[in-house]
Amino acid sequence: MKRAVKVTAIGFSVLMMTGMLSGCGGSSNASGSSGKTVTITYWQYTYPSKVTEMKKLIQQFQKQNPNIKVVEQDFPYDQYNQKVAAAMHANQGPDILNLYYGWIPQYVQQGYLQPIPSTFMSTSQINNYYIPMVKDSMYNGKYYALPIAVRSLAIFYNKDMFQKAGISGPPQTWNELISDAQKMTVYQNGKLVQEGFGPDVSGQGYHLFQEILLRQWGGKPFSADNKKVTWDTPAGLQAFQYWMDMFKKDKIGDMNFDQGAATAFQAGKAGMIVDGSFAIGTMKKSASFNWGVAPIPTKTPGGKQENFGSYWVNGIAKGVSGAQLQASEKFIQFLDSTATEKDWLNTVGELPAAASLASDQSILNDPIYGPFEQGLKYAHATFFVNETTERQAFIDETNKIFLQNAPVSQVFNELTQKEQAIRDKYYSSQSN
């Protein structure tokens, strides 16, 4: 029955609809033959709005599929990978895992995931169904996990603070951003009490350099096969210098001010930050002032627009087979349907991953979602081989500039070499 649906499907959205309709019929068939209830486990990290939404979706899914039971379990972000590593090595893992797309290479190398079965969804079906950025999660030519929603970056700005400083609107270029930020930055007795722009490194800051500034200044982060770090050019150094100058020379903010940029912004102590659409929900809840969202600035007026996109994906654990596998596939199909994605946007605030929803006018015209949805058009999802160590290299190397006054060009060279070494190490262990 599934096969028949697959062959006759024209596009994946069609497949999705029929798949869901036939899903009900199919499951009643299955129950007729076996009548057994299949239980599958879903793991995600504890992000309150996601957990609530997932629990609601599971109820809906179970109503449609009475003989599938989905057990949701969530763990704090900081312990999530630890939990997965321990459970998978002990064969105690879940059937479906929610993970950051940047972890896919690590998870696959460790043998935690199986590829999305081609009988379920072929590579070309996936390519057609999703927005192009999702291709960046392909690994060795295969998809191992699929997203419900995607995120991009934009500027969050404090409208009240802008008004007080006499600034009419959000900045269009980076130079404007710096001069606006300087107007809002307040030092008292040499101590920072209010920052104009919260330029962080450990959060979105490092994506800001790699996928936005570097590209706008005329560089490219990696070679086409992702094996070579290609930012080591005069343009790359200029972009890096410009980014570091925001902290060191222009002094429009401090990475460690008020426990980081996002916290400072929510406390009303930062004029602007760059953050992802996933922060919208938190902002709505915790920011008690007028705030707005603006697109990421460009280098020159009307210049090249760039953005960083990312997403969380659902993958099926290695070793899951038979009835469990079928039930898992059905659940993932349900999660990726356009109906679920729209619901997800309204409750979690993350943008739909389906290509058919990318030109949805109601999303594009929304004052808050709009800039993020626009940004998706120019978004690149970095291909990480080891997201954590790559990020850590950025934190450690830039700290040499902030804490030890190391020369920017020297740090830039070291950083390039470090990132290259991480890739070399990864790919050399791949070939063995």
């Binding site: 630890q82 040499g190 001010f257 954590t388 700290n399």
Partner: protein, 292 residues
């Protein structure tokens, strides 16, 4: 079967249950971790690669050095503060229990909660410590965000927390010393200073050995405070620039955020050997018997 041997059998059976539990929960994973330290990441087959990589890794040596620094800084301080508090509380007549509770409370409070409170107090811009320094005319310090001050800042939290435990054990040790020794010393005309160094301190030796050995082992395994004082969801704990990283934090970073469990196991093997050596040496040196 005689009654005696039947009794023995029963005892063996009862003893076997915890033994099995211990074997399954502690010993087997330990052995597995030891074996795993010779695996390649993501594969099997024996290799020395993890150890080679570890001994050439700058971060590993940094974590080893820091771990030893934590021992050298925190253990003597917590012992000195502990014995000082114990002696003073011994002299207090009223509110004895209250004082004891106040100093012991940090020890039984969650390490995570304590670390986060200290983290906020250390905050360079909004922290209460810098506000306090400001009133006294001392310039603001960066504490955890500076490579020079971070290790000391973490140590302060550890000392603050562990001193209460040392105090309590010292109080017990002091109360176990028969009063007649002090009386005899006083009658002989010994000064309080002499009484402390010639009578009290030597008689506290068993307490001191216990506290030193457990304190050193604890300091070698320092993790929670570092993790919560210096880590965040974006960056690994032990920073900035590895200035506060301990061996256990290094193990954790390697194993659970870089997914390199074999490498992490190799670090724990080195830590195990280190703890074993240090403990044996300590017991040899400290546990000699005194002639009174």
């Amino acid at each position: 079967m005689s009654l005696q041997s039947r009794r023995a059998t029963t005892a063996y059976i009862f003893l076997a249950v915890p033994l099995l539990f211990f074997l399954g929960i502690r010993i087997a994973p330990t052995i597995y971790a030891f074996l795993m330290s010779f695996f390649k990441n993501g594969g099997t087959g024996f290799t020395l690669q993890n150890y080679q990589q570890m001994f050439t890794s700058h971060t590993f040596w940094r974590s080893l050095l820091n771990t030893l620094l934590y021992v050298v800084i925190t253990v003597p301080c917590q012992l000195a503060i502990g014995v000082g508090l114990a002696l003073m509380i011994g002299r207090v007549k009223r509110l004895k229990g209250f004082y004891r509770m106040v100093y012991f409370l940090p020890y039984i409070t969650s390490q995570v909660a304590i670390s986060w409170v200290w983290r906020l107090m250390y905050d360079p811009s909004n922290g209460v410590i810098n506000a306090f320094l400001g009133w006294m005319g001392i310039p603001a310090q960066s504490f955890l965000q500076s490579t020079n001050e971070s290790l000391m800042s973490v140590s302060v939290v550890i000392i603050w927390q562990a001193s209460g435990f040392a105090m309590l054990i010292f109080i017990a040790g002091l109360e176990a010393i028969p009063k007649m020794y002090f009386e005899a010393a006083r009658i002989d005309g010994a000064s309080p200073w002499q009484i402390f160094w010639r009578v009290t301190w030597p008689l506290l030796n068993p307490t001191l050995v216990f506290l030193t050995v457990t304190g050193v082992i604890g300091a070698l395994q320092t993790f929670t405070q570092i993790e919560n004082l210096t880590g965040s969801s974006g960056s690994q704990a032990g920073g900035p620039l590895h200035s506060t990283i301990s061996m256990v934090v290094y193990t954790y970073n390697q194993g659970f955020s870089n997914f390199n469990l074999p490498f992490a196991s190799a670090v724990t093997v080195v830590l195990f050997v280190l703890i074993l050596l240090v403990t044996v040496v300590q017991l040899r040196i400290l546990n000699r018997s005194f002639e009174y």
